[in-house]
């Protein structure tokens, strides 16, 4: 189906935090210095994929695929895309596929444009504290749905190069890196070759926007120079770090945020070889974006102290409260209650119209038993909720000294008891407007417990 080649909708997700200093001695950040995007302690590739995709995936047709590209999948063996699929409420006929490795972001984008799949790329980047590139790695998500509204694919080309550049054994946390000067040269050669090939196929000498993503910063700089890029992509990268499998998606989203309809975009991803894509920006590009722009998200972030970052990542083993770990969820109740757990679906009473959450067979307002059918389900996930009462838990088992917990009433009915996130606990007050966000509550007995939290609503979006 050649007329389907391209991107219909896109979104980027940057977490609420940024790290601008990794000095254990408390030295001030360099100006201007690199800044890394930092996922909250309750985020991972799955939650960021959900946040990136939730505003652009509608009714995905049976037979289409959901792809999740990452180098930091929360499980070995278990498919992470299946959790994203459930949270998005996709048709069970749509496949859920994990793509792994640094090159998987570009591979996912390739499949999106060619097959009409939807894909999320999401990554949490670990480095050893003090590693030379600690502030040059970052956490992010990006999402794309195949189609033509945002951009049409004019051509693509790829080079596969087996190369020991960045690698990690199963069970290890940190990438190992080969001498960048050696790998940069190999990657630059592959990338320039793929880009020239793709441009030629598109009948172009150059593109209006040149976007280069590489796991090797030295290679990225060289490729930009060779292809005449403006360096706008490099400025984004200095504010987020290299975001792994998400990075080509994040940089492409940032370019689409700014590009005018009819302009061309050359995207090159140089890792374990190279992938090059030439797009023509579509007339519908402005309406094709879900959520805020990459620039808006960069500006909205809170600066995080290095100690807090280390604690969040488990890189600093801090004494917690004398309190047992939160209980692990069990498979049968998770399966039975998937609508509530993964999609935040309450039940609407057929008799009085009130919403009960968590959903129940009997209405919490009028006490009348209803039918547990699809018509009674009502999603609370994209609604605004207002805080009725709030507390701060100072004995939390989460890697924070205190966490806010709220009771919040949902616009249009329903009540949620939920953890607040992405804001200092003391800033959450009665009357505040909040919105649901998919998070990892805790991990006990090697089971990740995903559910919805509430974060302050940002009026600017």
């Amino acid at each position: 189906m050649p007329d389907q080649h391209g991107i219909d909708a896109y979104a980027a997700y940057l977490p609420a935090y940024a790290l601008n200093s990794n000095s254990l001695e408390g030295a001030p950040p360099a100006h201007p210095g690199p800044v890394r995007s930092v996922a909250g302690f309750d985020e991972d590739a799955v939650t960021m994929a959900v946040e990136a995709l939730r505003h652009i995936v509608g009714g995905t047709a049976t037979g289409h695929q959901l792809l999740l590209a990452t180098t930091s999948a929360p499980y070995e063996a278990k498919t992470a895309a299946g959790i994203v699929h459930e949270a998005l409420g996709l048709d069970p006929g749509a496949a859920a596929v994990d793509l792994r490795g640094h090159r998987s972001g570009a591979s996912a984008l390739d499949l999106v444009t060619r097959t009409g799949a939807c894909a999320a790329m999401a990554d949490i980047r670990f480095t050893r504290p003090g590693a030379p590139d600690e502030l040059a790695q970052g956490d992010a998500g990006a999402a794309f749905v195949g189609g033509r509204r945002a951009a049409v694919l004019l051509s693509r080309a790829g080079r596969t190069t087996e190369l020991l550049e960045r690698w990690r054994l199963p069970g290890e946390q940190h990438d190992r890196v080969w001498d960048e000067r050696f790998t940069a040269d190999i990657l630059r050669t592959a990338a320039v070759r793929a880009a020239r090939h793709a441009l030629a196929d598109a009948g172009l000498d150059t593109a209006d926007h040149v976007v280069v993503s590489s796991s090797n910063a030295r290679a990225a700089a060289a490729v930009r120079r060779a292809l005449g890029g403006s360096g706008e992509d490099a400025r984004i990268e200095r504010a987020t770090g290299f975001t792994g499998a998400a990075h080509p998606g994040l940089l492409l989203a940032a370019a689409l945020d700014e590009a005018q309809p009819g302009q061309t975009v050359l995207l090159v991803s140089a890792t374990e070889g190279a992938d090059a894509f030439v797009f023509r920006v579509g007339d519908g590009v402005r309406s094709a974006r879900g959520g805020p722009s990459v620039r808006e998200q960069i500006q909205d972030r809170q600066v995080l102290a290095y100690g807090r970052y280390l604690r969040w990542r488990g890189l600093l083993d801090v004494q917690g409260p004398a309190r047992p770990a939160a209980p692990a969820p069990a498979a049968p109740p998770m399966h039975r209650r998937a609508g509530w757990k993964f999609r935040l679906e309450g039940s609407r009473c057929g008799a009085c119209g009130s919403i009960t959450a968590p959903p129940g067979r009997v209405c919490a307002s009028c006490g009348i038993a209803g039918h547990a059918d699809a018509r009674s389900k009502v999603s609370l996930r994209d609604k605004v909720a207002r805080v009725v009462s709030v507390t701060q838990d100072h004995l939390t088992t989460m890697p924070e000294p205190e966490v806010a917990i709220v009771i919040a009433d949902v616009d249009g009915g329903g009540r949620l008891s939920a953890y607040a996130t992405d804001a200092p606990a003391e800033d959450v007050v009665v009357g505040m407007e909040m919105v649901p966000t998919f998070r990892r509550l805790w991990t006990t007995d090697a089971i990740h417990n995903y559910f919805w939290k509430l974060r302050p609503r940002k009026d600017c979006h």
């Binding site: 004398a322 309190r323 047992p324 939160a326 209980p327 692990a328 969820p329 069990a330 049968p332 109740p333 998770m334 039975r336 209650r337 509530w340 757990k341 009130s354 919403i355 009960t356 959450a357 968590p358 129940g360 209405c363 919490a364 307002s365 006490g367 009725v388 009462s389 709030v390 507390t391 701060q392 838990d393 100072h394 004995l395 088992t397 205190e402 917990i405 009771i407 009433d409 949902v410 009915g413 329903g414 009540r415 008891s417 939920a418 953890y419 007050v429 009665v430 509550l441 805790w442 417990n449 559910f451």
Partner: protein
């Protein structure tokens, strides 16, 4: 909806209660034996063989009726274990009362016990069934601290006044507990000590929380008409109500966290049965569930002791002090007495029993005639609640 007096009225003829504290050298079994011996010590003519049936309440310190049958080596007796969160001890009492009221048994025992200090945690521990993992992993103080901003918002109480009210509850109950040899904490505390204690949840610090302790308490119940056979000073059960909340307060909008509707209903039932029409003036003293300081504030309104929105003022004015118009938690409450879950409901009745018999010594409330024991479990929005009215004299139907 029926809310009847029982077929036979019921009286308590003896009670026992261990000290509540860190019983490092006693098991739940030991505590039960101690409490039973304390109780039967006042009934020289009665032995365990004379007791027809037993109820034992524990949240997590034992399973089945054997929790009591084994340590006491009861032979051929029916024993029922009950559990209803922090109202477990009250639930043991309630079911035991129904058993004599029905005529099935002549004499029964209600026992409650909890051994909390054998874990290495400071707070409560409970094991819940496998679940979907979507519930907030509240600490108990976090759940109850929700009352504070909601109460302030509803009644226009500023931060300073609210803090002073919570502090007053803690200071008062510790002062009462200092007079009680069975209390966990026997020292009065200063307002400063309460307010500078480490924060636990919301505005609550460690000194806004009840003590975590071990203990047991028991009661022997008979039909009211038989009571004077066993003691000159029986205490009569004049009314009781119990509600297991639907949890609607957390599952649908509307509930505002300034009241425990379950307590309001249970109190209404108990007052109706007891013929109490104005609890604020008719009740001599009350033992209430001060698991956390704001709980006691809200309960003063739910029990009809203070008008809505006015409890904070009455507390600050000393109305609920030991020498106030309506002394509350004369034994020190959960706050200083400690809160071994399964025992607490019966501990409250033990204080009512002691006061109504005029045996409370330095804590004695003059002319105590009617006492309220109020006990709850769960959290605001989703709780279980028990209220009993106990009297030094039989009610109309008991004579």
């Amino acid at each position: 909806m029926a809310n009847r007096r029982m077929a036979h009225d019921v009286a308590i003829v003896a009670m026992g209660c261990t000290p509540f504290r860190d019983h490092w050298n006693s098991s739940a079994d030991d505590l039960l034996v101690d409490a039973v011996q304390d109780c039967l010590g006042s009934l020289p003519a009665v032995s365990l063989d004379d007791i027809d049936a037993f109820w034992v309440g524990t949240q997590g310190s034992g399973m089945s009726g054997q929790t009591l049958a084994r340590p006491l080596r009861l032979s051929g007796k029916p024993v029922t274990r009950v559990e209803n969160y922090c109202a477990t001890g009250s639930e043991a009492f309630r079911n035991a009362a129904f058993a004599v009221a029905s005529g099935a048994y002549d004499m029964v025992m209600a026992a409650g016990v909890e051994k909390l200090k054998d874990s290495s945690q400071a707070g409560l521990s409970a094991v819940y069934p496998p679940a979907d993992g979507t519930d907030v992993d509240w600490t108990a103080p976090a759940g109850f601290s929700l009352l504070v901003p909601a109460y302030q918002d509803a009644h226009g109480v500023d931060d300073r006044d609210m803090r002073s009210t919570l502090t007053k509850v803690a200071v008062k109950n510790h002062a009462n507990g200092a007079l009680n040899e069975r209390a966990q904490f026997r020292k009065a505390v200063s307002a400063e000590a309460v307010e500078t204690a480490p924060r636990v949840a919301g505005r609550l610090g460690v000194m806004d929380c009840s003590g975590v302790s071990d203990g047991a308490a028991v009661a022997v119940l008979v039909r009211a008409e038989d009571a004077y056979k066993y003691t000159e000073k029986p205490v009569f059960l004049r009314g009781m109500g119990f509600v297991a909340g639907s949890g609607a307060g957390l599952a649908s909008d509307g509930y505002d966290f300034t009241t425990f509707p379950e307590v309001v209903t249970a109190a209404k039932q108990a007052y109706e049965q007891a013929g109490v029409t104005d609890p604020a003036t008719e009740i001599s003293l009350a033992e209430v569930h001060d698991c956390f300081t704001p709980t006691e504030v809200v309960l003063m309104e739910d029990l009809g002791f203070s008008p809505r929105g006015k409890a904070w003022r009455d507390i600050l004015d000393g109305r609920y002090d030991l020498d106030g118009a309506l002394p509350v938690n004369t034994d020190g409450g959960l706050k200083s007495f400690g809160h071994p879950i399964g025992a607490t409901g019966l501990r409250m009745m033990f204080e009512c029993f002691t006061q109504l018999r005029g045996e409370a010594g330095e804590r004695q409330v003059p002319n105590a005639r009617l006492a309220v024991a109020q006990n709850l479990g769960g959290q605001p929005g989703s709780c279980v609640a028990f209220v009993a009215v106990l009297g030094s004299e039989p009610g109309e139907g008991d004579r």
